[in-house]
Amino acid sequence: MLTILWLRGLLTRRGGRLAGAAAGIALAVALPAALGVFLASAKATMTTRSVARVAVDWQVEAQPGAKISVPMPGTSRQVDFAQFDGLENRQSGRTVPTGPGRALGLPGDYATVFPGQMRLLTGTASGALLAQQTAANLRAVPGSTIIVHRPGLPDAQVKIAGVVELPEADSLFQRVGAPPGAQPTAPPDNVLILPSSEWHALFDAIPRDRVRTQFHVRLDHRLPPDPADAYIKVTGAARNLEVRMAGTGLAGDNLGAALGAAREDALYSQLLFVFLGVPGVVLAILLTASITRVGAVRRAADQALLRTRGASPATFLRLALAETLAVGVAGAVVGLGLAALTGWLSHSTAGLGGAAGWTIASAVVGLLVACGTVLPAALRPAGVVAGRAPITIGGRMPVPLRYGLDLVLIAASLVVFKLTSGTGHQLVLVPEGLTQISVDYWAFAGPALLWAGAGLLMWRLTRLLLGPGRAIVARLSSPLAGRLAGTVAVSLARQAGPLSRGVTMAALAVAFVLSTATFNATYRRQALVDAVLTNGADVTVTRSTATEAQLSAVPGVSGVEPLQHGFAYVGSDLQDLYGVRPGTVLAATHLQDTYFPGDTAAGAVKKLAARPDALLVSQETVNDFQLRPGDLLRLRTQDGRIVPFHYAGIVTEFPTAPRDSFLVANASYLASACPGGCGSTTFLISTDGTAPHLVADRVRDRLGPDAGITDLDTTRKVVGSSLTAVDLSGLSAIELGYGLALAAAATGLLLILGFTERRRTFALARVLGARPRQLGAFIWTEVGLVALGATVLGAAAGWALAQMLVVVLTGVFDPAPDQLAVPWGQVAAMAAVGLIVLPAAGALALRAARRPPLTVLRDL
């Protein structure tokens, strides 16, 4: 009965404090629960996308001389491969030959069962088909008759029905069972696709060592949503099949490979979510603790009254537990509700049930937070202890600060950071041949220590400002306080404990928002940079005779930049050679400074512009040939010409260039050195804001199927890891939302609760004759201190944390960023919250202080 009475009293008379504590717990529950829902949804998306990107799940290849008699799971079709010696197109007296290639024999419904394997570009799919590159080499079109040079057999004639693109040519022509390093570097140049019956008619009689037989398998795609679980299931099934085939065949597990990459990305994303989410949860816990501390004095008074009326320790414990349970359960329920709402608003495919582990863990966290913050405060209010010690200005620092724990933690953070961010460090390790991947959790220590150290340092700095530095506070408050400035500063100095904690909380909230937002913004930018690096520009055109003017005329095109591409030998090493226009290349594509070690993008391009025969080479080439700037380098083109260059700098990445060695030179110099052209021209097209895929379609309509046209939208889906494919905007929104809520609570709520506790002081000041403006001096100076601390300290800590996060989580960036992206939108949102919440808190406090002082004194 007493418990119910006490709880009812708390709810009616101390409802604000209880609601504040429950709100803090709700945030501590909602953030991890919402992240869990988002993560579960993101993982399921990764699995779905990985599955969707695989054209053929398994390629089961019969071993030479063996026959597979084991039934295949799912849906399977037999595919036959044959090697031919060459193709020839004879048209109107002209013969166009090509080199050796592969002929595939496909069943009639192959394209239906495996729609991702082929894309018909022109003609019809029923009959003999040529791959796009082959058709271009042969100058063949639907209706052309080509000659197939068969090994050991007379030539045969085939009438071409259509031209197709083979988007997954690499996996289609993989060497099944060979380790990754032994796979062909590129698919065959010449590919002829025949109906099975025709293939058998042409190639059954060729030597058997030139023929292979595969079963292409499409599995049941009802897989576990987590890519790691799906990977284990699929790879396990593939091994099981190989065991059952007893050596007659090997399984090329394309789906397993895709899921393997996705599970690595999933783990990265999980780390990302944890890295970015945990500080928010800790902040919510600290906030709850701060809120419960604010009411300590009044709580002590309440309990003293209870004690005088004979309440026993057991009664106190019962009442404290009841309050803890009420606040904890309310906070957990509201928090889970918020998480569910967040999931619904962000269109997550997984609800709270889909992330059951996170949901349960979050609710438990909520109850533990209540036990760790509300229960101790309810059992023994801090005011009871604090009341015994006088509030001295510039008194002894809290124990952690007295021993310099803040500086120790920051130093330790830097040491750990140095150790874990060195060259070659991998946060996520994928051991060869093992299904389990491991995480170097030690790398977490750097940011974690920095968080703790920065928080303590903020606490120290605020205390120093309020204590020894109170003259600064007095000066800051003097415009409002006038002659009361000194009194205001002293008054704040004597409240250094709660005030410094409030400022630290606010600064940590700002740091949380800024660090996560900066990281996310940098991540999104680098994902785009990665796609640009691969595609070259918004739209890229190859294998075309189109002119710059023709492409510029396509609607949606804002700029066209020609890029020469050929090959040249450096010693015996054949490398890609790119010719650029130094005057315009910087504006046409994205060149990061990090692509040019020891230089900047602008600096490297300037070197090209300064000397016509300047050449940028890879680091590997510099090492191999011991090059020094200015050294003469003679390159041999594929047609045997020797072209002299001078080494000008290093380039590690370049749009459309391969990851290994390549060369970048002046296009004009290349043109003069190779009058007939040293290669082909690639056009980098910038759009005027029109979606790149739309512009690509328009260009395709103009240039026909022979031209190679790629766009940024498609490339982002194809080249990006599955992590990149997960829309981080949802995560950003969640973190920004909760971060802003935390910041609002850490600034506004703590201020209002603090002012509420000091209503008596303000009322007394009014009785002594203080005018509203003079009361405002006390209030606005405190508000200003919180704003100043949160802005300066929070921004500094946020920037440092973002820097460290980007380096520690460098594995998720490809390429590594050369500088952080500033999330202006989030910064503006943060500023808006501050501009609304802080003045609102001050205005509310001032309004409360203007109440008739006797009414206030009577009510308290």
């Binding site: 006038g482 002659r483 009194t487 002293v490």
Partner: protein
């Protein structure tokens, strides 16, 4: 019925009340705390305001101090040019010191509020503390003071402001009788030194006996 102080020196009244009433709340919940009160206090008047709990003593004191406004009737402070803010010394029943300020700062606060320079305010505060015999407690915080010491600081705060009217609402309620007498004697001394009007609300006959004028309140009305 109107009452007037009789010991006051000649000159303008410090405060006058004309048919003053104060009602809290509205309608059926309205509570009439004070009604029909008319009174005048001249400089040097020393009044013991007595009456049972709930009779309206505190409300009348607040009206006299200008901390509350009457619902009907008028309160005027002719000697204060009708601007009582900061010029009426008030000693409360409970703790009235600001917790984050030490004794000297508490005493100096109304002077600073009134616009005195910091140095002057502090010097006057120290003098006031000395004059009530607790100069050695200048640097102590309210939480370090006993109840009697805190009330002495409150008296020093009144003294430092040189008010023309001193209002004390049961200033000895939480003190033992010996200490209570000392505090009231201190208030009387201070009022005499300033030629200020003094009103002390009290239940204690011994305290009331120290003051020459006795006002009694019953059910919100002032009796002679």
């Amino acid at each position: 019925m109107g009452v007037t102080g009789v010991t006051g020196v000649m000159g303008r009244a410090v405060v006058t009340c004309q048919d003053v009433a104060r009602t809290y709340g509205r309608g059926s919940k309205a509570v009439v705390a004070v009604h029909g009160v008319s009174c005048t206090l001249a400089p040097g008047d020393q009044v013991a305001l007595m009456g049972p709990s709930g009779s309206g003593k505190t409300t009348l004191l607040h009206l006299l101090a200008g901390l509350d406004r009457p619902t009907t009737g008028t309160v005027a402070w002719p000697e204060l040019d009708d601007r009582p803010r900061g010029r009426v010394g008030v000693v409360f029943q409970g703790p009235s010191l600001l917790p984050p300020l030490d004794a000297a700062e508490n005493v100096a606060l109304p002077l600073l509020i009134a616009g005195l320079p910091d140095v002057d305010a502090r010097a006057m505060a120290l003098r006031a503390l000395d004059s009530v015999g607790i100069g050695d407690l200048a640097g102590k915080l309210p939480q370090e003071l006993s109840g009697g010491q805190a009330q002495r600081v409150a008296v020093a705060r009144v003294l430092a402001g040189s008010p023309r009217l001193i209002i004390a609402d049961e200033p000895t309620a939480q003190l033992d009788s010996a200490l209570a007498a000392r505090v009231v004697e201190l208030l009387i001394t201070v009022a005499r030194r300033l030629t200020a009007a003094l009103v002390i609300a009290t239940h204690d006959q011994m305290i009331a006996g120290l003051l020459p004028i006795h006002w009694r309140m019953r059910d919100g009305a002032l009796e002679c």
